[in-house]
Symmetry: C2
Subunit: 304 residues, 2 copies
């Protein structure tokens, strides 16, 4: 089988063994969906994985997940409502017209509504969570996929029960690039670097104090002006504030199921979230970053 994780700014393809889910070959490029001209998705996919298609059986499934199923992608796949697991998702796949494979299928994103009816959505992360479910088991647990839009999902009984998205990564980047806080930061300090753990922990501790996030954000500037925070500490302190606020709110909303929190994503982010969870007194268990491949393989097995 072939699995594709096609996001806004990246394209990842996996050639996998159906049964074991083992990745046999992989292709990663920066050709995200924004780089593909309207109507050009079939052509772009054929160009990217042509050699694989030539050797796979004609009925081998090609499964696509991610923003390729959004309004800006190949075709819009409606959101599937939670709770949802592999069985519900398999029933909601969209068949795409693709000359290269008979079964070219689009994975739907998921939607949920909280107790007050406010909706939330994900597209791409549902497949990673399906991959994660195999490692988590049947019990209820809380999973965190940190990123531009961090996803906190309650999982249990082999399904995704509900989730909440936090705009943490985008708020961090937007403030560093376009607000007064960025002018304080050291040049090149915009990346979530390895250093600055002390300042990061200071931000985490500040997030646990009263005053609110909007006040804590301005405090980053006041600390800088008063000489209490060095320019190179701005970015890690700000990240600590934001991630600290995110975790406090997400764990409170997630009920009692937060021990351990299952964490998966980019190394550099997971390292910071692991520190933050530890500071909050929570255990965490890290999972490999390649969960999308595992999730795509799990969904393909459900098709057979």
């Amino acid at each position: 089988m072939i699995g594709i994780d096609w996001g806004t700014s990246s394209f990842r393809a996996y050639r996998m063994d159906d049964r074991s889910g083992a990745v046999l070959e992989r292709i990663e490029t920066g050709q995200g969906i924004l780089e593909v001209p309207p109507g050009g998705f079939a052509e772009a996919l054929a160009a990217a994985i042509g050699p694989w298609l030539a050797t796979e059986p004609a009925d081998a499934p090609v499964l696509l997940c991610g923003m390729v199923g959004s309004r800006q992608g190949w075709q819009e796949a409606p959101y599937l409502a939670c709770p949802a697991g592999p069985a519900e998702i398999a029933r909601a796949l969209t068949l795409l017209p693709f000359a290269g494979a008979r079964r070219c299928l689009l994975v739907p994103g998921l939607s949920t509504r909280d107790a007050t009816g406010v909706p939330d959505v994900m597209r791409g992360e549902e497949t990673k969570l399906i991959g994660l479910l195999e490692e988590v088991g049947e019990g209820e647990a809380l999973a965190c996929l940190p990123g531009t839009h961090s996803k906190w999902a309650r999982v249990g009984g082999g399904r995704i029960l509900g989730f909440a998205t936090h705009m943490t990564g985008e708020v961090r980047a937007t403030l560093l690039e376009h607000s007064i806080l960025g002018r304080l930061a050291a040049p090149g300090g915009g990346g979530a670097g390895e250093g600055g753990d002390d300042a990061f922990r200071r931000g985490l501790r500040r997030a646990r104090e009263g005053g609110g996030l909007l006040h804590h954000l301005f405090g980053t500037r006041a600390l800088g002006l008063m000489g209490d925070l060095a320019p190179e500490e701005t970015e890690p302190y700000l990240s600590g504030l934001l991630i600290g606020h995110e975790i406090a709110a997400a764990v409170a909303a997630g009920g009692g199921a937060a021990d351990p929190v299952h964490l998966a994503g980019a190394d550099i982010l997971c390292r910071r979230y692991a520190i933050a969870l530890e500071e909050a007194g929570l255990a965490c268990r890290r999972h490999e970053a390649d969960l999308a491949a595992r999730g795509l393989a799990r969904l393909a097995r459900g098709l057979a």
Copy 2:
């Protein structure tokens, strides 16, 4: 006397009667401090208020407040620590070299530290608060000056006891201009318009629910994607979220002194804050926007 409120992007000059504080003439231009070349402040001031200087007595005070006293301004005036009232501020004025007047004086900004030692700063708002103090009286009260950086000050006994800044206005503008939320908003919907009160109130109510601000922000997008929030509602809803979070945190931090909250600033903002305070069950009293002139006159009277 002459009073000047010289901010980052605006210049306001008042010719006033020393004793009554009545404004006799006023000049307002967009020549904020960022428009003035380094070393060019004396010249810019002489050009702006030359005719007044020609008729005022040589020892008439010229008092300047605002970002003109910052590192990017005419001269940096160190922050004065709270608590501070007119007497403390009068002792901390900086004499500026200015051929047009013998007593050209710079009002210092204020600093404070909260219970955990984290600093906060203001520059310009201290003068507005001095102007407000005369209307508030001696009792302890909470004052709110909404804006790019909203200031919440505890005042009492004729002094500013302490304060907290919330980055609400700048976060709102930054997210609308540079984040995914702005792409949802209706074109031209970036201003704090008159309409959208219902969406603004929805945002306020959402802010009182659990989940945290970073989750509520993403909810703006999810509501839009699910058709639960119209493009023209994005801006007022987002403002409601941010102002709701600000007020909840500020009132909690301000202790029991929040009834009524004294509100002063631009009409369009004060109107929204008044709605938000009412939704939070708090009384508010609005004050005229020209408090800087009143504060400058009060400080000048202390010099005599």
